[in-house]
Subunit: 332 residues, 2 copies
């Protein structure tokens, strides 16, 4: 019998098609098609082909826009939002709009074109997370921005247009809808229980174990109870912490370790799938700390059809307990 499961944060109901019970091998036709090759603006020596660098980790080579960096952040050459100007909020008849002000940056994760995030060392992945944090702290100073969305697209079907390993960051003057829904859910749970819903999830998943993939000192990696997509995977800090920007150096290294391991397990189990991940953190101007930041990985394994788009009601052919078992047992 298929199950209807409710996500405890957003109250979204999801169909878990237990009887179809798709295994990893059923998805391998979706292996990530690589983005097109050609001249790569993110490789050493091509620093002049990107907009001027905003931030870089350059322990030995201090000169900007030259080789020698380990991680490099540049403005997106084709930004979705523009950095210059005022928001100019206004009405248009019954409608509301504002100018598309924001920041859109690219985090080039390594000089090595053919490596991927999971091939780097723990400390190299730590530098990427540190770049996310540094850029967030800097952009938070700009009072026009309400939110900083950090995300990574891997594989063409996940929207990556360049192969060289990179993440992106968009600072927006609004709080994105899905984040606001999570905040509402966290508040609702807090009003009823006087506890953080993510802290409750951590407690339940550690004592249950069936959806737990990995844990280390500071983080756990789970398949959520009501995932929208097969092998949807969350990484959550064990300590209640609303704002990703407050991550410590010790936590950064533990996050690097668990993220590397989670991505490696997904890669092996699902034969290198396309995926997206995003960090959900509290809005920049939110008071108090009723949120619990986390990272969500969404492998692109199935075609999302009309039913899902039209209703926000998803059919997931793989129970998360099965997915967690596959990911725990994968040989890496």
């Amino acid at each position: 019998m298929p199950e209807l499961r409710k996500d405890p944060v957003t109250s979204r109901w999801v169909i878990i098609a237990t009887e179809r019970g798709k295994r990893p091998s059923d998805f391998t036709s979706m292996t990530a098609a690589k983005a097109k090759e050609g001249f790569c603006p993110f490789c050493y020596g091509h620093e002049g082909n990107t907009p001027f660098e905003i931030w870089a980790y350059r322990p030995d080579h201090p000169e900007k826009n030259t080789p020698g960096w380990k991680v490099r952040v540049v403005p997106n050459k084709f930004p979705a939002l523009r950095i210059e100007g005022e928001l100019n909020r206004r009405g248009m008849g019954m409608y509301d709009l504002m100018d598309g002000i924001g920041a859109h940056e690219v985090i080039v994760e390594t000089p090595e074109h053919d490596k991927n995030l999971e091939d780097l060392s723990d400390s190299e992945v730590g530098l990427i997370i540190d770049a996310y944090r540094n850029r967030g702290i800097d952009l938070k100073k700009d009072v026009r921005f309400q939110y900083i969305l950090i995300f990574r697209n891997y594989g063409k079907s996940a929207g990556a247009s360049l192969k060289h390993p990179h993440s992106q960051l968009i600072a927006t003057p609004i709080v994105p809808k899905r984040v606001q829904e999570e905040i509402n859910g966290v508040n609702q749970h807090f009003q009823y229980k006087e506890r953080c819903v993510f802290c409750d999830i951590i407690h339940q998943e550690l004592s249950d174990g069936s959806r737990l993939v990995l844990e280390n000192r500071n983080f756990l990696c789970i398949e959520p109870f009501a995932p929208r997509f097969p092998f949807e995977t969350w990484i959550i800090p064990k300590k209640h912490q609303a704002d990703f920007l407050n991550i410590t150096d010790e936590e950064t290294l533990d996050m690097a370790r668990i993220l590397k391991s989670a991505l490696t397990r997904l890669k092996v189990a699902l034969k290198d799938p396309a995926y997206n991940y995003t960090i959900h953190t509290m809005p920049l101007r939110a008071q108090g700390s009723i949120f619990h930041w986390h990272l969500e990985i969404m492998p692109k394994l199935i075609q999302v059809a009309g039913f899902e788009w039209g209703s926000g009601f998803y059919i997931n052919p793989t129970p998360p307990e099965d997915a967690a078992k596959y990911l725990r047992e994968v040989e890496i």
Copy 2:
């Protein structure tokens, strides 16, 4: 300058990338890949290869499960939800779930394998809409169900696994999230304005005209102000009507006409794109009438990437005013 626009119903902000301003010809690489061919269970003479028929329009051939029908409704052979059983709502630790009870039906739209909806006559399309209505009225009697979602997937990338023209219907024991968001938005607008937000949209779009594609006596077809996707197209009844199931015969024929014309225009302008459409109507057990049913068409023209999935915040490269102009001026 790109714009941030807010959907007046759901309060979702969308980036309209006015400067990229993609035209129809920029999308033609996404022309609908056809679903695989082979034995077709929906053709005349193959009625024994589907589950027993639930409803059919058979003006001359009354014998069930034989040829001679014009529109035929059968259970989905691989249903997402099961019709037999009780909901069995229960907790599991902190989580909530129930059995996956529901109905999942296929509306075979015509016996003609190689035609498509827009190739049929007005009255033939009217029969399809009438099948939607009839099945909805029947399923509403089942008190386990809260919602009936009617949708059509066209093209492989939109999730269609069979080429023979068909729609689908899923009756669910919950109200889908996106519909509930619309209802909340309609209620919020009503509390503030004492008017229906969709009626306000109709008024504004008819007087403005820049996003209007088509209208007839009972319906209008628009590009919404803050569309998530390029060429997202809505068909809205002019009269305030909460429940699609109350559509009259006259309205059915007018809806057939405007739907045919909208799909034909999308097909010509965008070179036969894959698309989904869904009907949004009020929940089955809702009291009062603070909703306004409509149909949403979502062409599959762009890859939805991590940014969108992770945030619920969409980037749309085509302003709806441009899309409406292309669709108005298309030669059909």
